[in-house]
Symmetry: D2
Subunit: 348 residues, 4 copies
């Protein structure tokens, strides 16, 4: 990154940007109160930082060693004047602020009635944000793929229900975009766009949602190490969007024999990631465990590990849910989870 | 699947299809010489097979228990009159036929000169199909993303080079489509469309390429079990495309300490998969090992394990390659690999 | 298991045992206040339970389906009159009781002075049990193997220090036995015998320590699934010892690239295991993470997940420790950990 | 390692050894025709190599960077005058020589009759060495543990049968020692002592068998990386025994859903390990796959990958075997495997 003097002129900044482009790289400009910082998107190893340091108006030119530069603490500090952490504002809610945030709702939106009934329940339980899947990634083409699979009209209708429910129960809303063709539509409606675990490596999609100017909830892939997770978050950041909410949801289990949990929830990733980046990180205990009877324990554990909040699947009658019924809890159970998590959070 | 009598009428078939649709499912019709078989795309568990068996013209109605039905041996036998294996024809080449097939070329196309020089080399070494990456999935936004990242024109130019090289050296060509927006363009040019490992779970992309009527090379994701791999191949098959070439390229390593190979090449997956489906399966030793000095051994091993061929990255000067130089071999080394593999294949 | 009538005679019980032995199996007799239960060690599938049900004095004969029978909840309930959980008494301390228990001390005992200074520190911090490694399992033959490697005399001296420190600071003591030849010696001195993760599969050692009549702390191997973990605990139980304290300490990391933690701490295993067995389970965040700066978070998370306690490595000056300095915390830091954990425990 | 001049005196060598011991380390002396090399067992980082270089008679003092020094190619070259590979002689057979070696026999010895019948079969099929398990490591205490579990007498009797069968059919014999208490007994009888995968980390056992002066077949643990595997082989080497035959037998599977193979056979480990050490490496396809129908393919693949041989479980009637019947092949099938492997080996 290139730190400009506080009194660097527009022309001096432009000269640096021009030189960066001449080298086949992209520039990411952060304007601060006291200084401007220019991040470099591309292979820094080709850069002669001493060369840049000699440009008029440049205070310092520093290489960042990780593959995730724009979301690193170092860059956050210099370029955006951030402290250790960044809170991301959605409506009146701060994700990554002082209080844990709870995102809840059905795995898949099945009908307006189902959605509203669940929305009412999660609001009452204390949830802050309403989730509802419309485009569902599924392991089998023979399974229900969400209402969005029914066509443009059905997708739009479901998105409208989601917004309506959000308005009625005063919660911002989030849904997943599974492919590139859905991005524009989804971005029109929701407050947060979700990128699911299966799409973490899908860089064309990341570049596309990164341009939408909305907060992104970005899930870790179940085969990804932490370095890869952060490196792909950088694809969103490279589009100028730093409102990225990370989310841990379990990695592939190892070992033979029957699995007692669907994935292995990697809670040590929470504090480990918090040492690397200013972005907030949430936990999804529903997909990680795949077991309703483990949600309470793993929610408490996630908050105790320092997570900024949780994303939990809820249904008033899990047995009749079309997708993932075995991992959903009821609104009443959600209330117990939220209450316990808030009590625990106060002890940290 | 629903097996119709050999003399079932068009109307009888249509009635069955109508009933399938009425249940909210899709029908996949295979017309054979001796009988017609109707596959069901969707959740078979909702189906009352006895109900269908009573329809006029129906010989038998059978549920298939795996989540991969259309690509199962059972379905291949009934619906398509296949034996154990299906050979997929590309130009004058049979993938999954009697002889192992070798796909080779640069990891990334860098220039016309580079591509032609490598194409000439791999042809001379005995390769059958030319590969060349134009849209490169990369772990870091700061790395070279392939010529396709330069824009529509650059992408088109690189695709034209690829076709030209394929024509000149008489090899069908293959390249990867990384995202949905590239599918139409890529399909216009190449003989085989590649879906990379990172995109295995990307079902919107699979549905889109499945409609293109071209053979698909489909790589296993590094976090995917065999059942998941086959279940996602089914997404392509469900679009009516059975020309799917599977490809094993390594799964995430386990264990602490430094990795001696980039991924763990799961060669036992080859015979295990061949027991499940009629589709051919190849191996990519380049990405699996990430080590030039292991390519020869792992190529021999893959062929000995029963793979229908290999996909290998080649460069005349690996040291100067922009991407993955450490895993590329030279055309001369490729010749040694192909010769050894062909000798081994004869012993099986 | 075979549940006898409350008024079954000694002879009737003996007849059942004789019949079990005749079938080449072993009998595990639990005498309760209201009834006697005879467990079967060996392959139950050869057993005709109906045959046993017809024996005089037998109330019921039931097969247990898991490979871990003697430690299953079902067996605990019938044979030992246990509720959901069993508390294991060590001195005046209950492991698996109402309060979380903290085991702390140096990774390796280095000298009497070092041990006493740390013992004093952990006691002051609130620890209940003192740990100190004397026989250290190490990945390299070229590393320090613990004072026990110096010979019988050195081992004995170190064990004496450990007991002395335990007495002085009023804490029961625990150390690891790495091999069979050390079992008798270690059992003479300590209150709890530790079986390390690397020895989880070491069934001859398990059988040997199982006969010692002392509580065993039994760590999960880093490559073991939960079913295997419990199946090997059963080797200890089969010797008549049910005072088994399970301990989760991380499983092998998956994914390529640098590891941010030494192992992956599988906290969902805590509630999952608690559904299967009455045995208590602890967590060792020190070995799991290998990172001093993650101990606080992962300790809190483990307690929130429901663990019955923690095992933590402590040194007054981590930088000068001979083994694993990078993962040890100071007594003051331990105090913070214990205080936070106790506050969190109260909220569950 | 410290390389002495070719004319270094006994006294000069002793002085170096004395100095090594004074530093709390152990010396490993290799006497060659042209020079003597002294290896250091212990933490080399404490060593000032320049200090040793100044000793009379010392030609050169060099640190080796891997944790496996004594089995490294570098040490093999200097200390033992080895080329790339070392052949280990057992009777008239060279393991790691020009021809692949086949070890075959029953998983578990069940009776004299069973053993002899299988021995006759594997000999006829072309096997070189006879295996037969007497002390069986098992995942469940409720499973058959081998005849050795019956007591000292039964163990001895089974060992005698094994030797008798080896004599009669002219094959050296190998069996596993599961615990320390069996080492002396086993070493009395067999030509090669096997250390099973579950015992790879069991360093007390390794030190004990290392002193027996017999070749050791040393299996990789299913949770171990390559570096760990070689580091633990070093425990045997540190006892002065370099007749170590490595064996790959699969690592823990990753990914959710049903497993198609019991473990993941890591064949790329073969050439990767051959770059690191002079020791030969075999493959056990029986335990790795757990599937009889994959043995042929994976045997061929292992030999093609460069393995020095195979270890395969054989039974004349797999269905009636007491242990692991689903992974055993018949003598006739073994013949097909050996023939194919030998044909393949000739092509490399």
């Amino acid at each position: 990154m290139i730190i400009m003097n506080s009194d660097a002129t527009r022309e001096q900044i432009d000269n640096v940007i021009k030189e960066i482009k001449r080298l086949g790289l992209r520039a990411d400009v952060s304007k601060g109160e006291y200084r401007n910082v220019i991040g470099i998107v591309g292979d820094e190893r080709q850069i002669d930082f001493a060369h840049f340091a000699a440009f008029p108006g440049v205070k310092e030119a520093i290489g960042i060693e990780t593959p995730y530069k724009l979301i690193s603490k170092e860059y956050g500090k210099f370029a955006e004047g951030l402290g250790e952490h960044k809170a991301i504002r959605v409506g009146s809610i701060d994700i990554g602020g002082d209080e844990p945030i709870f995102i809840a709702g059905p795995c898949a939106v099945e009908s307006k009635e189902q959605l509203f009934r669940i929305a009412e329940g999660v609001k009452r339980a204390g949830a802050h944000i309403l989730r509802g899947g419309i485009f569902k990634p599924r392991s089998s083409v023979h399974s229900f793929q969400g209402l969005g699979a029914g066509g443009q009209e059905e997708a739009q209708e479901a998105l409208e229900w989601l917004c309506e429910a959000g308005n009625k129960f005063e919660m911002p809303v989030i849904t997943e975009t599974r492919g590139e063709t859905q991005v524009d539509l989804v971005a029109q409606y929701v407050d947060i766009i979700q990128i699911g675990a299966r799409n973490m490596y899908h860089q064309d999609l990341l570049a596309k949602v990164g341009k939408k100017g909305k907060p992104i909830l970005f899930k870790r892939h179940f085969g990804a190490g932490i370095e890869e997770f952060l490196s792909f978050a950088e694809y969103i950041a490279a589009e100028g969007n730093r409102d990225i909410i990370l989310c841990e949801r379990g990695i592939v289990p190892v070992g033979k024999g029957r699995s007692y949990t669907r994935y292995t929830l990697d809670l040590a990733a929470i504090p480990a990631i918090q040492k690397e980046t200013y972005l907030p990180i949430l936990v999804d205990p529903s997909h990680a465990t795949g077991r309703r009877d483990l949600i309470f324990s793993m929610s408490c554990a996630a908050i105790a590990a320092g997570a900024s909040g949780l994303m939990i699947e809820v249904h008033y009658n899990p047995a009749e849910a079309l997708v993932d019924g075995q991992q959903m809890i009821t609104p009443d159970e959600l209330k117990d989870v939220i209450d316990a998590c808030q009590r625990i959070h106060k002890q940290l």
